[in-house]
Amino acid sequence: MDVEKNEEVVVLDCGKEPEEVAVEAACCVGRPSAASSGSIDR
């Protein structure tokens, strides 16, 4: 959410550094692109 505001920039999402990405990596259950790459589902 809106985490930082000043006169020149409104930060809506700080994003994730590699440390945070690493924690969540390798979960095919819902890779969050628009279409993903097809479903790993049965």
Binding site: V9, D13, K16, G30, S37, G38, S39, D41, R42
Partner: protein, 433 residues
């Protein structure tokens, strides 16, 4: 400071003085004025603005160095990864006969034996200890994993105390069709480490029952919905669904029906629908040809965006877009088939030429070559691509099913060119109000 190589800049309709900035490297999102952006570009920005954008990795000291460092991003993730994450195929039995199932003719009676389960526990504990890992996450697949509840319990009862004795955390998820998901089972599994269940419902009842019937032909929709109602709040439930070019417009109605049946959006950890992947290998159901085998199809762009908006507008949580490396690129992530064979993707089990080793001997020598690890580094288009952190060569399974091999990258440029800006505008409207 110059702008990051991994920055996308979009205008905002109705606010001509504003620009939306999105970092593909971090998933960070910010809004600035056109004037502020111009100041950054001509190096006259205030120190405060520069510092704010630097904190978001949207401006960097040296974009060429940033690009070079991106070449080592996955190695860095692997060094930092505290988890050992393993998809476990418990067996190939399923009580459904989904027409598009990627396991196709692999399904049957084969299942993990006691000896294989014992060795799996030994193998995972050894790997967890050697890697000094902090968390072991198992994603149980089948067939239908809830046909193997006793095997799940058998593994969890061995692994949970052993991992905790090592100071780690043990947890697991299920990818289930939902037909056997009942409160007594969920409660028993939660006590053993169950965190979440991904359940697939393909839209309203008639469509779902056509695509995901029980093996005897009966519809499964009503049973799944009743089970989910009964299991609300017991563990996280992730709602999924698989659509085709012909039926994607039906899917929003599912969300309305669920609401009418008493669900609140907060009952689901997230909701996301996907295009069905067209399976073309030797295991595929030859009668099903309605799947998607390319992200370049315009209908996929339009349908995915429309469904994303429908999901978010109804208050369901839709996962945000961040870099999200594939299991193939993560050293401490893999799939163990019911017979103990190791693969690097749940969707490519059974392809013996892609076996990476087994739980008795460990990973072999040649799997990186077989799975084309770092294939994107050979592609100038990838090394220079602004979307690289979101893609890293795309989906090997889709490339394999489409091309018969995964030597070439599954380029997602057209997908992101078509969908990233509208997705961010959706986020601005719905997620950030």
């Amino acid at each position: 400071m110059p702008l990051s190589h991994y920055l996308k800049i979009y205008p905002l309709t109705g606010q001509p003085e504003k620009r939306l900035l999105f970092s593909t490297r971090t998933g960070g999102l910010a809004m600035v004025s056109g004037e502020a952006l111009a100041a950054i570009e001509d190096n006259s920005a205030s120190p405060e603005l520069t510092a704010s954008l630097a904190k978001l990795s949207m401006v960097v000291d040296d974009p060429a160095r940033e690009q070079k460092e991106m070449g080592g991003y996955l190695q860095k993730l692997n060094r930092l990864n505290p988890n050992l994450r393993v998809a476990v195929i418990l067996g190939m039995a399923c009580n459904f006969a989904c027409v598009y199932c990627y396991e196709g003719s692999l399904k049957g009676t084969a299942a993990m034996s006691d000896a294989t389960a014992d060795q799996l526990a030994v193998f995972l504990l050894a790997r967890f200890s050697a890697g000094k890992k902090k968390r072991l996450i198992l994603d149980f697949y089948g067939g239908e994993p809830l046909l193997y509840v006793q095997r799940i319990i058998y593994l969890a009862e061995r692994l949970k105390p052993a991992i905790e004795a090592l100071g780690g955390i043990f947890e697991f998820t299920l990818v289930s069709n939902g037909s056997l998901l009942i409160p007594t089972v969920v409660e028993e599994l939660v006590a053993l480490g169950l965190q979440s269940v991904k359940v697939t419902i393909d839209g309203p009842a008639a469509n779902h029952n056509h695509f995901r019937p029980f093996k005897d032909g009966r519809g499964s929709w009503s049973i799944i919905v009743e089970n989910l109602l009964a299991c609300r709040g017991l563990c996280l439930i992730t709602l999924s669904g698989n659509y085709t070019a012909e039926n994607h417009a039906l899917f929003p109605a599912l969300l309305d029906v669920l609401t009418e049946r008493g669900f609140a959006p907060g009952d689901f950890a997230s909701g996301q629908f996907y295009p069905v992947m067209q399976i073309n290998d030797q295991f595929a159901n030859p009668e099903f040809t309605g799947g998607c085998c390319s992200n370049d199809d315009p209908w996929v762009h339009a349908a995915s965006l429309a469904l994303r908006e429908e999901i978010m507008q109804r208050g369901f949580t839709y996962p945000k877009l961040y870099p999200s490396p594939c299991m193939v690129d993560v050293d401490d992530a893999f799939t163990v088939d019911h017979d103990g064979t190791i693969y690097k993707c749940v969707a490519l089990i059974g392809h013996r030429e892609l076996a990476c080793g087994d739980i008795w001997r460990g990973m072999g020598e040649d799997w990186r070559q077989a799975w084309c690890v770092n294939h994107w580094k050979n592609e100038a288009q990838c090394c220079d691509c602004v979307y690289l952190p979101l893609c890293f060569g795309g989906c090997r399974a889709m490339a394999f099913q489409r091309d018969g091999h995964m030597a070439q990258v599954d380029c997602q440029r057209s997908l992101f060119d078509a969908t990233l800006e509208p997705m961010l505008l959706q986020d601005l409207k719905v997620r950030y109000g």
